[in-house]
């Protein structure tokens, strides 16, 4: 795909984030979509392309009253929205549609109108993982961590610092769910969830949603907001079974998607001003820093523990507070994208001064899928 041909011209989250007991999941989609449409200065009838995950496109299009000529229901977990951005950019460039709306919403905490997630007993996961006691993401996502730690000499303290640093970012963000400062000792003394991970190393469980609107870069200059251009994109999948990853020392899906995006953008790692790495659990930023090629994996724990990703550090990472402290409805990728767009617009609560390039990297399932989007505010 050619870089900077498509731009984000509308971006918004749901009016409320956190615990939203008075709204069903489909209404959270609508709330985010209507906010994004207002942000872009558009009418619903201007939307001719639509993408969403988990909920079907027909469900959300009908509810909103959208008549699309292009739809994408790619649903590969929390990074689905990165893939939607990539697919939408290709569709706009190909002339299949002009103005794409991407929505995410999840009643992850209040569970109102949320579709059930179940593992059929005759699926491969149902036969070869479920019988051994996996029960939700905290019992599965951290399974590779001990191997990763042994291979690269990563310590429990370094994995605690991921949570500590992200809380520093969250403290600057009025919409973050958790803002009180924490220490490594707080992390290491928090409730054990699935060894080696404790409560403060696991993402929040909240309600919320978000929406993006994309159009061609040529049209984007006529919109009220500063355009944020899609500079590079990548995607991949590996396996829905965490036990069957090629290795626990890295994520194959990360290693495919990340470099694809960098190549497309034509940038080097030193050009990156701002970075989002989907942090459902504390090990993900370490996998991401290594697999995206920022540094060898063995340096990632020390890099974070030394403060390089904290406010004022040389590589600002997860500046909204991340899934650990900002919010995590279940499919966090949309919120990472929203923060990248805010940073590129220059309106983030913890704004990185003069940031021009933002890398936004997502994971789906337990390392099952991946999507990377590189944004810029300069064409």
């Amino acid at each position: 795909m050619r870089r900077n041909q498509v731009a984000v011209v509308g971006a918004a989250e749901t009016t409320e984030l956190g615990v939203i007991p008075n709204m069903s999941q489909i209404q959270l989609h609508a709330d985010a979509a209507l906010n994004a449409i207002a942000d872009a200065g558009l009418k619903l009838s201007d939307i001719d392309g639509f993408a969403t995950a988990v909920e079907s496109p027909q469900q959300v299009c009908h509810y909103l009253g959208i008549k699309p000529t292009w739809v994408d229901g790619t649903s590969v977990g929390g990074c689905s929205f990165m893939l939607h951005v990539r697919h939408a950019a290709a569709a706009i460039e190909a002339g299949l549609c002009k103005t794409v709306l991407i929505t995410h919403a999840e009643s992850g905490k209040s569970m109102i109108g949320k579709l059930p997630r179940s593992i059929p007993a005759d699926s491969l996961q149902g036969q070869f993982e479920a019988p051994f006691g996996v029960y939700g993401p905290p019992s599965m996502f951290p399974i590779p961590v001990l191997r990763f730690m042994k291979t690269y000499g990563i310590t429990h303290e370094q994995l605690s610092m991921v949570a500590v640093v992200q809380r520093e970012w969250a403290a600057k963000n009025p919409r973050a769910m958790m803002k009180d400062p924490i220490t490594v000792a707080d992390v290491l003394n928090s409730r054990m969830i699935a060894y080696p991970f404790r409560l403060l190393q696991c993402c929040l469980v909240t309600d919320g949603g978000g929406a993006l609107i994309l159009t061609s870069a040529d049209r984007a200059k006529d919109f009220p907001r500063k355009p944020v251009y899609i500079m590079g994109t990548g995607e991949s999948v590996e396996t829905p079974m965490v036990s069957q990853m090629e290795t626990f020392n890295s994520s194959r899906a990360f290693k495919v998607a990340g470099p694809l995006a960098f190549k497309e953008a034509g940038i080097a790692h030193k050009d990156v001003d701002h970075l989002m790495i989907y942090d459902a659990f504390a090990h993900l930023p370490l996998f991401g820093l290594g697999d995206l090629g920022f540094m060898p994996h063995e340096e990632t724990g020390k890099f974070i523990a030394d403060g390089n990703t904290r406010p004022g550090g040389k590589l600002p990472l997860n500046t909204n507070g991340g899934g650990l402290s900002y919010m995590h409805s279940g499919m966090y990728g949309m919120y990472a994208l929203q923060e990248s767009v805010r940073q590129m617009r220059g309106i983030a609560p913890a704004q990185v001064p003069n940031a021009k390039i933002s890398v936004c990297h997502g994971v789906g399932g337990m390392f099952a899928a991946s999507g990377t989007i590189i944004f810029t505010n300069e064409r």
């Binding site: 491969l124 399974i143 191997r147 054990m192």
Partner: protein, 137 residues
């Protein structure tokens, strides 16, 4: 009300041989007749070279502890926390998820790369699960 039960696998035509194997106290893997790749989970073709002729064979049952978590909460139905969910690297190459028996479920007792051997835990007359215990000697 009955006790909540551990999730029970339901075999498919492609996996039946594996579950017939565990019932007979055999851990069965598959090897490609063309490229000799050994793989898991079961399927009637080679995921490395796509060859359709593959041979099912009895694995040694020996492996090492590749990684694990000790799950504290929430516990899956039929499990009492804390319990380890392990990934075992088999001598033949493939890895599989399992549980470690006859071993304290603690970080001290569960050392990465420790030697393991397969054991079989019968759930009912249809399903026997492959689990692992520390290897003797």
């Amino acid at each position: 009300m009955a006790e909540p039960q551990r999730a029970r696998p339901k075999p498919t035509p492609e996996t039946q041989h594996f579950w017939d194997g565990t019932k007979a106290s055999e851990l069965r893997l598959q090897r490609c007749d063309a490229c000799a790749h050994v793989y898991f989970p079961p399927r009637p073709f080679c995921p490395s070279c796509a060859h359709r002729k593959v041979t099912t064979f009895k694995a040694s049952g020996k492996g090492t502890l590749y990684s694990y978590v000790i799950n504290h909460r929430p516990a899956a139905p039929g499990f009492t926390a804390p319990y380890a969910i392990a990934v075992v690297e088999l001598e033949e190459g493939p890895r599989m998820m399992s549980n470690i028996i006859d071993c304290p479920q603690t970080p001290e007792a569960l050392a990465l790369d420790m030697k393991l051997e397969v054991a079989f835990e019968q759930l009912d007359d249809k399903i026997t699960l492959p689990v692992f215990r520390p290897a003797k000697g």
